[in-house]
């Protein structure tokens, strides 16, 4: 059944390639194919996750591979929701590579299904990990939109262009969504940690980096809402913030052992 996973990965890759080709050629045909491939990838990916959940008899988000897979899945879902609402190609141009890259990372992780450790058998598991997957996905697409914005700017587009404003605004709204969900992640994790380990906050590296990421996005939001920062500066902030998200997600597990080390 791992075939489903790799088929989804290939579909996301093909979708990204077709989308970029369509964007470069300014043709609708390849982009339509890209959306179809992306949709097919989502179906395959969903089927794989359902199978894995049934096989493991739990929500398949318990280790680095499963979380990365859930993260990529959330990015695809958010991408489709935004596209269905906005009907803008650039949404897919941002979402497709983000989903593909995250799922590629998953492909390099151990895939075997293991028994869940006792500390993870909690009612908080789904809320904590599920909201983390969607939060990171929202941040990843916001970062991807930031890259897209900077590339367009380099190509000569003006900051007051209507599409540039839309990209900038959507990036900001995704950060709002991600920030709200990251807050849920931190609080649900705190309540869970208190039940499991007796302390709601232990300055464990994962907790600390989640806080660092949260503070960075809090600064981003203050700059936007109070100082009315927009455009290029916000795009750069969104891109830098994604580096923090990636480190919190993968780097901490690899480099800074702590209470969350089982998530490797």
């Amino acid at each position: 059944m791992n075939m489903l996973f790799f088929a989804a990965l290939i579909a996301y890759f093909a979708a990204s390639a077709a989308q970029f080709f369509g964007a470069a050629m300014k043709k609708e045909g390849p982009r339509k194919i890209a959306r179809l491939l992306f949709g097919a990838g989502l179906l395959l990916h969903t089927a794989y996750m359902v199978w894995r959940g049934i096989e493991a008899r739990r929500v398949p988000l318990a280790n680095q591979f499963e979380f990365a897979s859930g993260f990529a899945w959330a990015a695809v879902v958010i991408g489709f929701i935004l596209y269905s609402r906005l009907k803008q190609q650039w949404v897919m141009t941002a979402a497709m590579p983000a989903a593909f890259l995250v799922l590629s990372y998953a492909a390099f992780q151990p895939m075997e299904i293991k028994d869940i450790m006792p500390a993870l058998r909690s009612t908080w598991f789904v809320l904590h990990i599920g909201s983390a997957a969607f939060s990171y996905a929202a941040f990843a697409i916001a970062g991807s939109l930031g890259v897209s914005y900077l590339v367009q700017l380099k190509k000569g587009k003006k900051e007051d262009d209507a599409r540039m404003k839309q990209i900038d605004y959507l990036g900001y709204r995704l950060v709002c969504l991600g920030f709200l969900l990251l807050t849920v992640v931190i609080f649900s994790g705190a309540i869970w940690a208190e039940q499991a380990w007796s302390s709601w906050w232990s300055w464990d590296p994962k907790e600390t980096w989640a806080l660092i990421t949260w503070i960075f996005y809090a600064i981003y939001l203050h700059q936007r809402l109070r100082l009315k920062w927009q455009g290029k500066r916000m795009a750069w902030l969104a891109v830098v913030a994604v580096v923090l998200v990636v480190f919190t997600f993968a780097g901490v597990n690899l480099l800074l052992p702590g209470l969350h080390s089982y998530a490797v």
Partner: protein, 415 residues
């Protein structure tokens, strides 16, 4: 002084504090915390280690300057946001008034008005009738989103610090069948403990009974890693676990028996020349073709093939040997019978006011709600009269404008 106060309550100061908290957190995550001095010397060398220890970087989250940052952040939150509440309230009331007195800037025909009003009603806009028209209002609570967010951060810091700093915590091991009496007379009995469940899955579960000093209240519960026992202001956690050896010592002459639990190296000497010294209990062993034993030193589950590492002393002569559960070692009139090991829990007993937890969890909930209000509940007023309408919103944002424009264009087209 005024300038200084203005700076303390400014957003700029708040941002500086957040950046400093972020920088210290970063340092705290990269430098190992609360470790032994020798570890820092081996990692960074003498001079750097001394500098880090001197600066408190080895326990950065408990330094005076980290606490000072938290206090300044609270001060900034109070001055910057919380004290602005009357102003926010006034602004919300003014927007209501503004909407009531707004001049319509978009014309409406008879049919369009009913369409618009129907649309607003279906979108859950609250309606307030007035002379010759109505004011539709949505998300009025959104005015308070930013205020509530800052208030909840303050509450999280306050209750969070109290919950972290005030509890009385003690770690105790308790053998199955034993009872522990706490300072206030509360008794905790370990009825049973197992590392693996009946299917062999790691479980680490104790059955505990807590009883009040007067014996009027008692509660029995299975305690696992995610399900602590709550009893009054106590919370009892399944914290660690262990496996202890057990030896039954029998005096064959008079039939007296004694059961000794072995958790650490122990002398079981009858006299200086005779007896047994217990060194360790091993979870399992391997035997090669020549009959040589290799002892397995650790396991995360129950001990599959436990073996006792002992030294037998008889007439002053000592010999290292292995003893297996069920095996008996006789020395004169005394028989040492090695029994199956016993699994026992390490409990963490925390005494903390449930009100503090209530406050902390309330702050968490409030913050999530406040952020939702902040980002997704933009207050909108639509003033509708016979001849036209006006749309007012204090937090004009691009997305809202796009949505409303589309809505209005659609209404006008259909008209």
């Amino acid at each position: 002084m005024k300038k200084f106060l203005r700076f303390i309550r400014s957003m700029k100061f708040g941002m500086i504090l957040l950046i400093l908290v972020m920088a210290l957190s970063l340092a705290g995550s990269l430098i190992p915390q609360q470790d032994k001095a020798m570890r820092y010397v081996s990692l960074y060398g003498d001079k750097t280690a001394a500098l880090l220890i001197g600066l408190g970087a080895t326990d950065i989250f408990h330094t005076w300057y980290f606490y000072a940052l938290e206090i300044l952040l609270c001060l900034n939150l109070v001055l910057c946001s919380i004290l602005r509440f009357p102003r926010i309230r006034k602004a919300a009331a003014e927007w209501q008034k503004k909407a009531e007195n707004a001049e319509t800037d978009q014309p409406l025909s008879e049919g369009q008005r009913s369409k618009l009003e129907e649309y607003l009603s279906t979108r859950r806009y609250g309606k307030a009738a007035r002379d010759g028209g109505a004011v539709y209002r949505k998300n009025a609570l959104g005015f308070y989103g930013s205020f509530l967010t800052h208030l909840s951060i303050l509450l999280v810091l306050l209750f969070g610090s109290l919950v972290l700093l005030t509890p009385d915590i003690q770690d105790r091991t308790l053998m199955p069948g034993d009872t522990l009496t706490l300072d206030d007379g509360t008794q905790i009995t370990c009825d049973s403990f197992h590392i693996e469940d009946e299917t062999g899955k790691l479980d680490y579960a104790s059955v505990l009974t807590a009883a009040s000093a007067d014996g009027k209240e008692a509660k029995q519960q299975e305690v696992r890693v995610n399900t602590p026992l709550r009893f009054g202001a106590y919370k009892i956690y399944q914290h660690t676990y262990g496996t202890a050896g057990q030896v039954k010592i029998t005096n064959r002459k008079n039939g007296a028996e004694d059961l000794v639990t072995l958790t650490e190296p122990t002398n079981l000497l009858i006299d200086p020349m005779n007896g047994v010294i217990f060194n360790a209990l091993y979870p399992a062993y391997l035997v090669d073709a020549d009959g040589n034993y290799t002892l397995i030193t650790n396991t995360s589950g129950s001990y599959p093939d436990p073996v006792y590492d002992i030294r037998s002393i008889s007439g002053g002569m000592s010999a290292s040997m292995l003893a297996f559960p069920g095996e008996e070692l006789v020395n004169g009139d005394i028989a040492f019978t090695f029994l199956d090991p016993v699994e026992y829990p390490g409990l963490r007993i925390k005494h903390v006011s449930p009100w503090l937890f209530g406050g902390l969890y309330f702050s968490f909930g409030l913050m999530v709600l406040a952020l939702y209000l902040c980002f997704f509940a933009v207050p909108v007023y639509v003033s509708v009269k016979d001849d036209g309408y006006a749309v007012l919103s204090p937090k004009i944002q691009e997305g809202l404008l796009i949505d409303l424009r589309a809505l209005l264009e659609e209404k006008e087209e259909s008209a």
